[in-house]
């Protein structure tokens, strides 16, 4: 990107964040925005620990990096995964990995960390993501393969027990227990215990982060610490789900690392702005924050992008659909399992048009569909009868009121075999289930949100074995993408005696 465009884009971000800051009261949100504003200033003046990385990020070089010779791999990797690891460990300070759904991004990141640790047992890797869940998944995976690696997970809000042992609190608890058992001088034990227990700032977290091989935190959290000197610089920052993070969020880890590896998929969901944020963006002259994502542009332009081309999540029929619609035939199936009727489209005749003209307390239309809720209930009952015990089922919809309505109306008490998760499509990115029920919800109106290519890619690629789409065909065939999905599905018409097995 030329420097004028970059400066203008950053100026738009700054203006947006300043206006957003003045419109919110939530302390947590304000802190996040203040950190983002700070990083924009840092980047503006190149006040970062490795300016070379920043330059490569803004203006990627035209020459592809020289791949590293990794020797043996710790994990079982396919060819494209091996290439991604070699490229990431190569001589370029910025490399990108595009990972479509189910292609083993986490496996690749874990291998990169293990390789880096083998090369240098004192290596310091910052593992970041826009969400806590993604960071937790990564840390859990890495810790499965090497017990000697020192890991710290900062601010684990989800209370995921698998990664709790890496929280600063848990690490210090173990250390103090060790001290009590191994140090014979009580005075020394008391001094250390009291000093550590009475810390009131974030210096303990920072000291542990600087002492660990792998530090996991959200991108935003990186902005909480002041990393002053090059001694404190991380050897590598790995940013997972990079395409779902905003530019200021991505910049935070980039300011404190020698080298960065960005992992994401520009074909899946971008960062989502809430309606208040959209309003602010629209009020800024010539502001393109809604339709221009710099990170997508980087994936297009960089010579150091590796495409993970084999997916292991979805059964062939679903994988083929995703490949054809969203990845131009470049994605191959790794499971190589076929089953009949893996994609089912349940058509129905709506009793009225949905959504109703009903507003929520914020004055926005409540988009839900009671016909589809009824069908979901019926489908769940059928699935429970025919599924093996422990089958995971996700019910997803693009619309939050349909999610709320489904949660309210679904009768789960009598279920014997299913684990149900009900969420929005956006909330379910990064997760997977055996069966996914996708409620399209609308029978009238705009396709802009519902059939957005990136949202649809996420919605259709969450299921391992079976995808059930519920939608009124008369309405949906007017959209080319949804029409193509219905053409690849087995169509069933819902009536009151409906059974999933029925034609």
């Amino acid at each position: 990107m030329n420097s004028e465009m970059w400066a203008e884009h950053m100026a738009h971000w700054k203006q947006f964040l300043i206006e957003r800051l003045s419109s919110i009261n939530d302390i947590g949100e304000r802190v996040k925005i203040e950190r983002q504003l700070k990083v924009i200033e840092q980047v503006k003046y190149a006040a970062v620990l490795n300016p070379k990385l920043l330059i490569e990020f803004i203006n990627p070089s035209d020459t592809p990096s020289i791949e590293a010779d990794c020797g043996d791999f710790f994990l079982t990797l396919n060819e494209s995964q091996q290439k991604a690891v070699k490229s990431a460990l190569g001589d370029c300070c910025l490399s990108l990995i595009q990972g479509p759904p189910g292609t083993g991004k986490t496996q690749v990141i874990a291998e990169i960390c293990l390789q880096l640790y083998r090369q240098n047992p004192n290596v310091r890797i910052l593992v970041c993501s826009e969400t806590h869940i993604a960071v937790n998944n990564l840390i859990t995976r890495i810790s499965e393969h090497n017990e000697d690696i020192r890991i710290v997970r900062i601010r684990d809000k989800e209370q995921n027990s698998e990664v709790d042992e890496y929280s600063p609190e848990s690490i210090m608890r173990t250390y103090i227990e060790w001290l009590r058992e191994n140090c014979k001088i009580d005075d020394i034990v008391d001094v250390i215990t009291n000093t550590i227990s009475n810390y009131q700032d974030i210096s303990l977290e920072k000291a542990l982060a600087l002492s660990a091989n792998i530090v996991g935190m959200t991108c935003n959290r990186v902005g909480a610490y002041a990393f002053y000197s090059s001694n404190e610089m991380f050897d590598v920052a790995i940013i997972d789900e990079a395409c779902k993070a905003t530019l200021p969020e991505i910049l935070m880890p980039l300011t404190v690392a020698k080298k960065a590896i960005l992992v994401g998929d520009p074909k899946q969901l971008p960062p989502v702005f809430c309606s208040e944020e959209i309003e602010i963006i629209r009020s800024i002259d010539n502001c393109n924050l809604l339709n221009f994502m710099y990170i997508d542009e980087l994936f297009l332009r960089s010579k150091n992008v590796t495409f993970l081309n084999k997916q292991y999540r979805m059964i062939d029929q679903i994988g083929d659909l995703i490949n054809r619609l969203f990845y131009s035939g470049k994605l191959i199936n790794g499971r190589n399992e076929e089953a009949e009727d893996s994609i089912i489209w349940i058509d129905y005749v709506p009793t009225q048009t949905w959504p109703l003209n009903e507003m929520d307390i914020e004055g926005k239309q409540k988009i839900y569909n009671l016909n589809e809720c009824e069908i979901i209930n019926k489908v769940i009952m059928n699935l429970d009868t025919e599924s093996r015990n422990g089958t995971s089922v996700a019910i997803i919809s693009p619309y939050k009121h349909q999610v709320l309505m489904s949660r309210k109306l679904l009768q789960t008490e009598s279920l014997r075999n299913l684990y149900i998760n009900i969420d929005s499509v956006d909330g379910f990115q990064g997760k997977e289930c055996d069966v996914v029920i996708f409620s399209l919800t609308r029978t009238v109106g705009s396709f802009r949100f519902l059939a957005d290519e990136r949202r649809l890619n996420v919605a259709l690629s969450r299921a391992r074995d079976k995808l059930i789409i519920i939608g009124n065909l008369d309405y949906t065939v007017r959209n080319s993408l949804l029409k193509a999905v219905s053409a690849a599905s087995k169509i069933q018409l819902y009536d009151e005696q409906f059974s999933l097995m029925a034609e």
């Binding site: 004192n122 020394i188 001094v191 250390i192 000093t195 700032d201 210096s203 000291a207 002492s211 660990a212």
Partner: protein, 143 residues
């Protein structure tokens, strides 16, 4: 009112530096021993803490024996705090700021006055940002 002075490291120091300082204060002077007992932090982090404490003249280091000790000014301040008690008119409006009969002083000007009182004629201005003082009620005969 009889009062005594005491001090701690100021907020510019993090938890690792504070722990190292407390250990040296209690007689653990071997750098290797400190590094080994504080294994939860990396050698680099502990080395940075040593460096900061030495650069700011809180500790001094003997490279040959790989030991640390309190710097002369800090040692002198400790001795003066220990030996001396002072008569001070505490204003009523300060009483409500006292916690457990102690008043924390982090105002640089007041700290400079306290240092000058403890070690008159010695220029220790460089310690002002590194130390926070506290005034505690009670003097000779109270301990």
């Amino acid at each position: 009112m009889k009062i005594k002075f005491d001090f701690t490291l100021s907020q510019r120091f993090g938890v690792v530096e504070r722990t190292v300082f407390e250990l040296v204060l209690r007689g653990m002077t071997s750098a290797n021993q400190i590094t080994s007992i504080m294994w939860v932090f990396s050698d680099e982090v502990i080395a940075s803490a040593f460096q900061k404490l030495v650069n700011l003249q809180i500790l001094c280091a003997d490279l040959e024996t790989q030991t640390l000790a309190l710097s002369e000014p800090v040692q002198a301040l400790i001795e003066k705090c220990w030996e001396n008690s002072f008569d001070l008119e505490m204003q009523d409006n300060l009483n409500h700021l006292m916690l457990d009969d102690r008043l924390i002083i982090d105002d640089p000007k007041t700290k400079a006055v306290i240092i000058a009182q403890l070690l008159p004629g010695v220029k220790l201005g460089f310690l002002i940002n590194s130390l926070d003082f506290c005034i505690s009620v009670g003097g000779e005969g109270d301990e």
